[in-house]
């Protein structure tokens, strides 16, 4: 029982980074980032190379894991989404562009990184015992780092000037424009931060789960599940979604073998959406 709770906390904390990233992008740009899982995967590979293969400090790996996806995200916004959002005749266009970027990153990663599963050595060894459950220090690091990053992000969005611009943009794009918010730059920054969070989540989780070039779609689907549970574009919803999914996964995997857990999660999700199509915290069709 204690073990289920511990595992649930570890998953929920790192999933929250994924969910917050995709929520940030969604709320600022009204865009569902299909490539979110791929950015996570790239972040994981950065830590694998920098820390696992080149033996540089883990912290350096994490910085690279945040920067590379952030640059990719900023580039996507500047060169692709900005133009397509301007010329789009149907709202599907930007979404299909997002799907295109996901396919692109998936395949580039396959060529660059190969198909094998990679792991990295532990950054810190030892196990903490809490109430009959085991918490390896490695996982404690992941939880603590995730919580710190979540706090930093929330603080940034709440109090900093660019953060306020992002919230303004999320609330009302036109009004933000009238108030002198630089929409292009704020959108690019938002996309970069969202992508960077995905990369950081990947860089943290690679120490536990390892990485291969095919995990992108799975992570994207997890991100979608979380924002469907919590409600798209709402920060509190993203955190709730991460909590629900993290614990559903840890409970499911301890009781059921293999992939049946996700089958049940999907069934529960569809039933839940019948009752509440906009998610727990979402606004109807917001």
């Amino acid at each position: 029982m204690a073990q289920i709770l511990i595992d649930g906390c570890v998953l929920a904390a790192s999933y929250a980074l994924i969910a917050l990233g995709i929520t940030l992008i969604f709320s600022i740009m009204r865009l569902l980032n299909f490539a979110h899982g791929e950015l996570f995967m790239i972040g994981a590979f950065m830590v694998y190379y920098v820390y696992g293969a080149w033996h540089l400090p883990f912290a350096v790996g994490l910085v690279v894991a945040a920067l590379v996806p952030a640059l990719i995200g900023a580039g996507f916004e500047k060169f692709l989404f900005r133009r397509v959002m301007r010329i789009a005749t149907r709202e599907e266009n930007t979404m299909l562009l997002a799907v295109g970027t996901a396919i692109l990153l998936d395949n580039v990663a396959l060529f660059l990184f190969g198909e094998e599963q990679h792991g990295v050595p532990e950054t810190i060894s030892g196990v903490l015992q809490i109430a009959g459950g085991f918490l390896p220090y490695q996982r404690l690091v992941v939880v603590v780092m995730s919580l710190v990053l979540i706090a930093v992000l929330l603080g940034f969005v709440q109090f900093s000037r660019p953060g306020r611009a992002m919230r303004a943009l999320a609330q009302d794009r036109d009004a933000a424009l009238l108030m002198g918010v630089d929409v292009d730059r704020t959108s690019m920054l938002g996309f970069a931060i969202g992508a960077g969070l995905a990369g950081l989540a990947g860089g943290l989780l690679v120490t536990i789960q390892g990485v291969n070039a095919g995990i992108g779609v799975d992570i994207s689907i997890k991100a979608f599940i979380m924002i469907m549970i919590g409600g798209a574009g709402v920060v509190s919803g993203a955190l709730l979604g991460a909590l629900v999914l993290g614990f559903a996964e840890s409970i499911g995997y301890s009781l059921l073998p293999g992939s049946e857990t996700y089958l049940l999660i999907f069934v529960a999700l569809v039933l839940f959406l019948i009752v509440r199509p906009q998610g727990i915290m979402g606004h109807p069709w917001g």
Binding site: L32, L80, A88, L96, L97, L104, N107, F224, A232, L269
Partner: protein, 317 residues
Amino acid sequence: MPRLSAPAGFALFAAVMLVAVPLALAGQGYWLTVLTTAALLAFGSLGVWLTFSIGRINIAQGAFALIGGYVVAILGTRYHVSFWLSLPLAVLASALVATLIGWPILRLRGVYFAMITLSLTEVASLAFLNGGSFTAGASGITSIPRPALLSSSLAIYLASAVLLLVGIVIAWRFAVSPAGAVFRSLRQGEELAASLGIDIARYRLLAFVVSSGMGGAAGAMFAAFQQNVFPTSYTVNDSVNFMLYCFLGGLQTVAGPVVGTFLLVIAFQLLSAIQRFQALLYGIFMIAAMLFLPNGLMSLPQVLAARRGRADEAAPR
């Protein structure tokens, strides 16, 4: 450039598919298989096109192809049911599942609907993977008996071509019928349609069920012709590809998805050297299409005409 009327274009396409292609490629099994694949994928894409017409992004077509495939596989291998009976049953099963699932999830719109349908493709795969001895798990179902009457690749091709032509007629009938007009009104504003007394829930379910039934039929045909089906026969990527075919061709006309599918499938067979990069190029095509041809290849003449018109205006007189 003179434009073909829709019936004339259809007659021409039918003549090419049913007469010219069999005459030209009768002995070439390889190319017949390629065109069979293109025809079946185009049939599935037409279904996705129908859901696009009500303003829903449907990434679940792979799930229904999988259902259709498994119905044919299980009925054929366990109960020795003839393919010609199990094909309509496969369509029925897909349509039934679509009705049950579609009724709740069609309340979702935009990205929500896209997310849940994408998840559905994963669910279908997981469900067949965990189906125990009934679905044979990861090893899939192999040596499905070949359909009676369809022993040569030419016969298989002709059956697929006929199916595609039927699909085009179905999609076209919807496009020109009052139901098609309702579909388009749903895309533009469901509240407005509802305020005019239209039972929007029924119409959007109709579009989704027909679409899924078509996906089921395509999957059933593929399973019978390839004589196997696995939980991974259709993944999220396949569901996304159906969308890509529609978008590359263009969503404005029934011909769009057909043109998009044939072009991509055939192009990749011709350029066998780059087949390794197929998925990568699909991604690039998708991005390029959204950047430069957001209304698909079928809009190319208009785009070029507009560009020429602008050039004329700019030129000094």
